[in-house]
């Protein structure tokens, strides 16, 4: 159309219709796929053995401004509730002390996952070629910043308003001391960002988000509210509203590589490895946090696990991907066995190493012991009896000079750490499936607790070289390690970690630990 006639047409059009006109997000988004162009160097900086298709679409078609509007509406509601009604009813001081402690770990460790997901989805934004697919990942980059800030906000809120700020106020500095940290980094940090980009997407989106996000984020809100905590549901349910888009991103990742030949060769192996990687840590740690970190119980972890991990994810979600050649991971059956006992085994070790935490742990009470025995028959003979012995020896009392770790040493039950998952295990005293495997490479010994991790290490040992806490602390005295890792409260000598949450119980200090003279040893050295 000639220019002058276009102007005339515009003028004419206005005479007929002066209705206000705007532009919707979708009207902009529909052009997005054409925003890129071809050039020589246009390829990702992160290699992947898969090829992500150039025409991959996204399901949630957001533009930058619409994204901001949507999130900001959710923020208003969420921060509004926290700052207004929950503060007025003093909600942070109406949370059961055990749960107050659990949130030190849950919120901070989830924060690490959220934080690393920023980098992970940055990598995927780089790897994808289709602008829509890039856009889906970009939305997630921003979401994960949001979630990082939200998780931080929980600790910030509990520190400011709650009953025990220590650990909430400095988790980012003290979290690295204890036995749960390195394993958390494997699943939540390095597993998301270091590897083939698609493998990382599978870890983050297909397994981390689609499989474990439900137990982690949704189940945690149920346990929280049962134990008096309304802050966590307020924040976590708001986080969860973004997760649908992230699961869709994971789904699109698979769709984008489905026609690639590499997918038929590698996808199921990568999925199996990713599933085992994630479950190896989450299955025991989540179960432990819920059951041992609460007073009021919602349901046995094994039930939650079966419903969400085994049936919903392993069955329905993976089933939906069946048409792309995706199969249920072979390791799912072994994981199912772990879901019964692994968290009980892990709590025993975590409690034995309580001084290295940034939270207070509590031994099960008599009524809890009953609940455990009813839901996990055989629990008392294996664990309950030992806890009674520990309690009788004064494990909660600073004057006793007794750390449960001594019980493991006295009874010759060495605690090892799995090189690949970094999860501690005690092969001679566990009901879970852990078995000790030791391999040597270049004069260095490595312990493993299962065949799946061992296989990963055997094919690529250079990916799993990280030293564990026993190697790191070998020869050092416990109180020294704690002091160096800032594991003390603001008085400078009382530990953040404690072996009880009783309001009448005495608090342990660095001196109480020092008196015991506990020195770290590397169990692999004595093999």
């Amino acid at each position: 159309m000639a220019i002058s006639s276009a102007t005339k047409a515009a003028t004419d059009a206005l005479e007929v219709n002066r209705a206000p006109v705007s532009v919707g997000a979708q009207e902009v988004h529909k052009w997005l796929q054409s925003f890129t162009w071809d050039f020589d160097k246009n390829r990702t900086k992160y290699s992947t053995k898969y090829h992500m298709a150039n025409d991959t679409k996204e399901q949630f078609k957001l533009i930058a401004k619409e994204y901001a509007r949507m999130e900001s509406v959710k923020d208003e509601r969420q921060f509004g509730s926290l700052q207004d009604v929950l503060t007025r009813v003093d909600a942070a001081n109406r949370v059961h002390p055990k749960w107050n402690e659990s949130m030190k770990v849950i919120s901070n460790f989830l924060e690490v996952g959220e934080y690393n997901a920023i980098a992970a989805t940055g990598m995927l934004w780089d790897s994808a070629t289709a602008p829509e697919q890039k856009n889906g990942y970009l939305g997630q980059v921003l979401d994960e910043i949001r979630h990082t800030n939200q998780c931080g906000y929980i600790n910030y809120y509990f520190a400011k308003q709650g009953q025990d700020a220590a650990g909430h106020n400095d988790a980012r500095r003290t979290r690295a001391i204890g036995p749960l940290w390195k394993g958390m980094k494997r699943v939540f940090s390095d597993g998301f960002i270091s590897g083939d980009a698609v493998e990382c997407s599978i870890n983050l989106q297909l397994v981390g988000e689609a499989c474990f996000t439900n137990p982690l984020i949704v189940a945690v809100t149920e346990w929280a509210s049962a134990n008096g905590d309304e802050m966590t549901p307020t924040v976590f349910l708001s986080i969860e509203t973004d997760e649908l888009r992230h699961m869709a991103n994971g789904y699109q990742t698979v769709v984008s590589i489905a026609n690639d030949e590499a997918a038929s060769k590698y996808l199921n192996t990568d999925l199996n490895n990713a599933f085992w990687t994630q479950q190896k840590y989450f299955t025991p740690v989540l179960g432990m946090m819920f059951e041992y970190g609460s007073h009021f119980k919602v349901e046995p972890w094994v039930k939650t696990w079966n419903r969400w991990v085994y049936e919903d994810w392993g069955g329905i979600w993976i089933g939906r991907l069946g048409k792309y050649g995706v199969e249920s991971p072979a390791s799912l059956r072994d994981a199912k066995k772990d879901a019964y006992w692994a968290h009980h085994d892990l709590f025993m070790i975590a409690y034995a190493l309580w001084p290295t935490g940034f939270f207070r742990l509590t031994l099960p009470t008599a009524e809890e012991a009953e609940w455990y025995e009813a839901n996990y028959p055989g629990w008392y003979d294996m664990y309950g009896k030992v806890y009674e012995e520990w309690r009788a020896r004064g494990c909660e009392d600073p004057n006793s000079g007794f750390l449960p770790l001594q019980w493991f040493i006295e009874n010759n039950h060495p605690i090892y750490i799995d090189r690949v998952s970094q999860v501690p295990f005690c092969p001679s005293y566990s009901k879970g499936a852990s078995t000790l495997r030791v391999l040597e490479l270049n004069g260095k010994k490595h312990s493993f607790s299962d065949q799946w991790g061992e296989r990963m290490w055997l094919s690529e040992p250079e990916r799993y070289e990280c030293q564990n806490i026993f190697e790191q602390y070998e020869g050092r005295e416990l109180s020294e390690v704690i002091a160096e890792g800032h594991g003390v409260r603001s008085d400078g000598f009382t530990l953040i970690a404690q072996p009880h949450t009783s309001k009448d119980g005495r608090l342990w200090t660095l001196d109480d630990i020092k008196k015991i003279g506990c020195v770290f040893a590397d169990p692999l050295k004595s093999l």
Partner: protein
């Protein structure tokens, strides 16, 4: 009472559960230090909310300077490359956690601003269209300049946007990572606003082509954006060092080429062609530019250039990078001069003297704000002369 809670009963509101909880809570809080992240070195007098929520969220070991963690990575890339590593950049820092967004925006504050801009954009477009402003736009300016050349500039913004992906992945600090993702999002927002304006025009002006085909052809095959395109491709995909990506994009290319195109071409000229629409969008881009400028100047000038151990080294590296990226940017501007042959001329506005004055403003601003702080010696008159040689 039983410890089993069923039916969604809540500890805060169920009187029996609440009684058990209250009985277990200590009479006095166990800890007096209630300030989260109290150990962070604040930028201002005390640790603010942004610093509380963002600082040290990144779990890097202490061999990446500033990290609070210890040891190795628990999983590495195939072949053993580490998750994050000092080798990812030639810059050195004593502490990669020092950077602050000068506006202290964490996620909620960032999206709140952008959400307001979106709502206002929607209202503005409605008022603009109902008011019939569109009749006053010069047809050549509208159909060729906005249709093709503004559209083509969207690709520059989109390419720069994508240069932030690997920087978001690879950078070594948490406040850095959040800032990089946010200034990246602003760039794709710019590209989308350009398309939004074109789609809006297509709704008001029958026959106006909103498709991206012609702008893309102009961007990929035309002469006006040739130098720009080659530079953007090199920033986006030719460069691996995340600091160099940020430096080339935000300390050289955008403050010179981006500023000239946005501020001195589209923003300054649009009013002369009866276009009051484009300034609405460009002004938002200029807001983002100034916020980004605050962020990247903080990264390079406030933190890296004055680092107590590596400041001198970093400054000399910034000078070398300037040597590398400045000629390409000048060349991009030189190519862009071809656009003045495409628009109806207006004396005192589009003639050589006016263009030279506009270039003078951009280069002087750049010299003052970007070159001088790192002691980069630059002959702006000579650079402007080179650019002007591109006038047809």
């Amino acid at each position: 009472m039983s410890i089993v809670v069923s039916g969604g009963r809540r500890g805060l509101t169920d009187p029996k559960i609440a009684a058990v909880i209250l009985a277990a809570i200590p009479d006095q809080p166990l800890e007096t230090q209630r300030k989260m992240n109290y150990f962070v070195t604040p930028r201002g007098k005390r640790v603010n909310e942004y610093e509380t929520l963002c600082c040290y969220t990144q779990p890097t070991p202490d061999w990446i300077p500033g990290g609070l963690d210890w040891g190795d990575w628990t999983q590495k890339f195939h072949g053993g490359r580490p998750s994050w590593s000092n080798e990812s950049t030639e810059m050195h820092s004593t502490d990669w956690h020092r950077h602050r967004d000068p506006a202290f925006r964490w996620h909620a504050l960032y999206v709140k601003d952008k959400a307001e801009e979106w709502r206002y954009t929607d209202r503005f477009l409605k008022a603009y269209s109902a008011d019939g402003h569109v009749r006053s736009i010069d047809p050549v300016w509208r159909d060729e300049v906005l249709g093709d050349y503004l559209g083509a500039f969207g690709f520059s913004e989109y390419g720069l946007f994508n240069s932030h992906s690997s920087a978001t992945r690879d950078c070594l600090g948490d406040t850095l990572r959040m800032s990089i993702a946010m200034i990246g999002l602003d760039k794709v927002d710019n590209a989308q606003m350009i398309q939004m304006e074109r789609t809006f025009l297509a709704k008001l002006v029958p026959g106006f082509d909103e498709s991206t085909a012609a702008p893309k052809k102009e961007w990929t095959q035309g002469s006006i954006y040739k130098g720009a395109r080659e530079t953007v491709e090199e920033i986006w995909q030719g460069t691996y060092d995340w600091n160099e990506i940020l430096f080339s994009g935000h300390m050289i290319y955008d403050p010179l080429f981006g500023q000239f195109v946005r501020r001195e071409f589209f923003l300054r000229l649009s009013a002369y062609y009866g276009d009051n629409l484009t300034p609405f969008f460009i002004n938002q881009m200029q807001l983002y530019h100034s916020q980004t400028k605050g962020i990247t100047k903080d990264m390079f000038h406030t933190c890296l250039a004055v680092d107590e151990n590596f400041g001198d080294y970093n400054v000399s590296l910034m000078n070398m990078w300037s040597d590398k990226w400045l000629p390409r940017t000048v060349n991009a501007l030189k190519d862009f001069m071809g656009i003045f042959a495409k628009i109806p001329s207006i004396a005192g506005v589009t003639d050589k003297a006016a263009i030279e004055a506009a270039l003078g403003r951009v280069f002087e601003d750049w010299k003052r704000d970007y070159a001088d702080p790192i002691g980069y010696k630059v002959d702006t008159a000579a650079l402007i002369k080179t650019v002007l040689s591109g006038l047809k």
